[in-house]
């Protein structure tokens, strides 16, 4: 299976050869797979060093000189470690950048908590000019890059390691709009990133026990498609959110804000609370974090059992 990171490297060849303003800086990661870009775009690729804050600082200077910078490295190092640079150099100074991270959540599942990150989406969302995206399939990434890379904004792309398995057409991916993946009546499952895979599997299982689950998917967290959430939850009255983000300020928060005024709403959140200690496969850490098909089924059933009186009451 082709990783999202490889697809990013492939996309950069296309983007870099079509726009001479595009420059890529990396913090000693993806160096090998970006060599086709480096060869296709001589003088516009820099493996700048293991110094993420300075790399982000420098990207601001690049943009002041007319360059469209792409900065790429591991999620916690370029978001949490370099956040003051992102905030001041691009937020305060109103400059433009494309920040592309890998290893969000616990994709580096065998490397421990130093390489995990759950707050990145929240951090970027505090910036008025940020566009916050979680492409989790090739068509999403391709569409997002084309739609945003030269928009003069702070574009953040959190690349998942592997795609979620749902085949979208590039044409149906519009930055800022969610996608209704499955129509349902009893409960809304809202998700983002690679957890769409578990959401689809859980909806299949729920259907077998007579529960009709609607799945709405958010590849963009800012701007957030509040309308899609409101429309769905207005019908189902029940919401389960599934996200590889901090439980304090992510998809659940956005959805609940979108549901203000919906009477009788019941909701459950599946998210990350603090560190996930230990090592293993991605799937094993999903289980540790309670981000599984079984967890979604359990959450949905807990909301639907004995609550038939609420459905459609609004």
């Amino acid at each position: 299976m082709t990783t999202l990171r490889q697809q990013f490297a492939d996309q950069m060849v296309t983007l870099g050869t079509s726009d001479p303003r595009v420059v890529v800086m990396v913090g000693d990661i993806s160096h090998g797979i970006l060599q086709p870009y480096a060869e296709a775009c001589p003088g516009r690729y820099f493996n700048i060093g293991i110094c993420e804050p300075s790399m982000v600082n420098m990207a601001a200077g690049l943009n002041r000189a007319g360059v469209i910078p792409f900065v790429h490295t591991i999620t916690p190092f370029i978001t949490e470690r370099a956040y003051e640079q992102i905030k001041l150099d691009f937020g305060y100074q109103e400059l433009a950048v494309n920040i592309v991270s890998v290893g969000g959540a616990f994709d580096y599942s065998q490397l421990g908590c130093s390489h995990h990150c759950y707050t990145d989406v929240s951090l970027f969302s505090h910036l008025r000019r940020a566009v916050v995206m979680l492409p989790s399939s090739g068509p999403e990434l391709a569409a997002m890059l084309k739609q945003t890379y030269d928009n003069g904004m702070i574009n953040y792309f959190r690349l998942t390691e592997y795609a979620h398995g749902v085949e979208f057409e590039e044409s149906e991916v519009i930055v800022g709009r969610g996608i209704k993946v499955r129509q349902g009546e009893d409960v809304t499952i809202a998700t983002t990133g690679a957890q769409l895979r578990n959401a689809v599997a859980s909806a299949d299982a729920l259907a077998e026990v007579g529960i009709s689950a609607e799945i709405i998917y958010f590849h963009t967290m800012k701007p957030f498609d509040s309308k899609l959430v409101h429309e769905s939850v207005s019908r189902t009255g029940r919401l389960v959110t599934v996200e590889e983000l901090s439980s304090h300020d992510g998809l659940y928060s956005q959805c609940i804000r979108s549901c203000v005024g919906i009477g009788g709403l019941v909701a459950r959140q599946l998210a990350v609370d603090d560190f996930i200690h230990g090592y293993g496969t991605y799937e094993e850490l999903c289980a540790t974090a309670d981000l599984t098909e079984a967890s979604i089924i359990s959450a949905a059933m807990s909301l639907t059992n004995g609550r038939e009186d609420q459905r459609g009451s609004d």
Binding site: S54, G66, D89, Q93
Partner: protein, 259 residues
């Protein structure tokens, strides 16, 4: 002493507004004035002129010095200075590039301006432009990790179109007594020159000898300066770092600067 008039204006705007760093500004004002008077290419009527040299004040808290120099050379007005530190104006205790003509980076958090300026130099080279980039750092600021991360990058990327000027007024040695800045910058691969940062002749000699090319060894000019230079009681590292003069102190300050 040179630039007594600019020092007096710095003290006046700080006293009027009740905000500012007088000694840090007195430490660098001779260097900043020399840059705008003798070194930098710019068009004050068109601050975004494509062919300009870039100056980034990385030690943003010294910005009162930058403001009075920008006024002297036509970027700002007298009214801008009168409105310093107020909601009516565009000038404050750290410079904001989004509103101040001639300011090339919004600095204040130490350790940001220098790497941003290096990025400018790299970007200009990528875009095939011959513009030069200058950044003025504090010696205290050189305790920030990003300074040395970026010093490594500047040397490795051979940013010969870049000149760092370090205001070596001794602030750093209060905390970290091992304070051999010229040796440190040399060790990081920069071409190092030392200068008396308060001598017009010395500044002319050092900046006049600069030869900056898009590719080559970047330059670090280590400027020996005195914090609070020009007024006996503001010199040194005591209470004056962020002190606002009262009326009596202002009168004494004015007397020294106009004598």
């Amino acid at each position: 002493m040179i630039n007594s008039d600019l020092r007096l204006t710095i003290a006046e705007i700080v006293q009027r507004s009740g905000e500012g760093h007088i000694p840090s500004s007195f430490s660098i004002v001779d260097i900043v004035e020399h840059l705008y008077g003798e070194v930098l290419r710019y068009d004050a009527a068109n601050p975004a002129w494509d062919d300009r040299d870039y100056f980034v004040l990385s030690k943003g808290h010294g910005c009162a010095a930058l403001y009075v120099v920008l006024r002297k050379y036509g970027f700002l007005t007298d009214q801008d200075l009168l409105d310093y530190g107020t909601s009516k104006g565009i000038l404050g205790g750290h410079p904001d590039l989004t509103v101040v003509p001639g300011v090339e980076a919004s600095t204040g958090s130490l350790g940001h301006g220098f790497p941003t300026a290096l990025g400018l130099a790299l970007g200009l080279r990528i875009m095939g432009k011959p513009n030069r980039v200058f950044a003025l750092l504090g010696d205290g600021e050189c305790q920030e990790g990003t300074i040395w991360e970026s010093a490594n990058i500047g040397a490795n990327q051979q940013l010969g179109n870049f000149c760092a000027i370090v205001d070596w007024n001794g602030s750093a040695s209060q905390l970290m007594p091992i304070d051999d800045l010229p040796a440190k910058w040399s060790a990081f691969g920069w071409s190092v020159t030392e200068v008396d940062g308060h001598s017009a002749d010395e500044l002319d000699r050092v900046f006049g000898a600069l030869s900056m090319q898009p590719e080559g060894v970047p330059t670090a000019i280590i400027a020996h300066t005195t914090k609070g230079k020009g007024v006996s009681f503001t010199e040194g590292h005591g209470k004056w770092h962020h002190r606002i003069p009262d009326e009596a102190e202002m009168a004494a300050l004015k007397a020294e600067l106009t004598s």
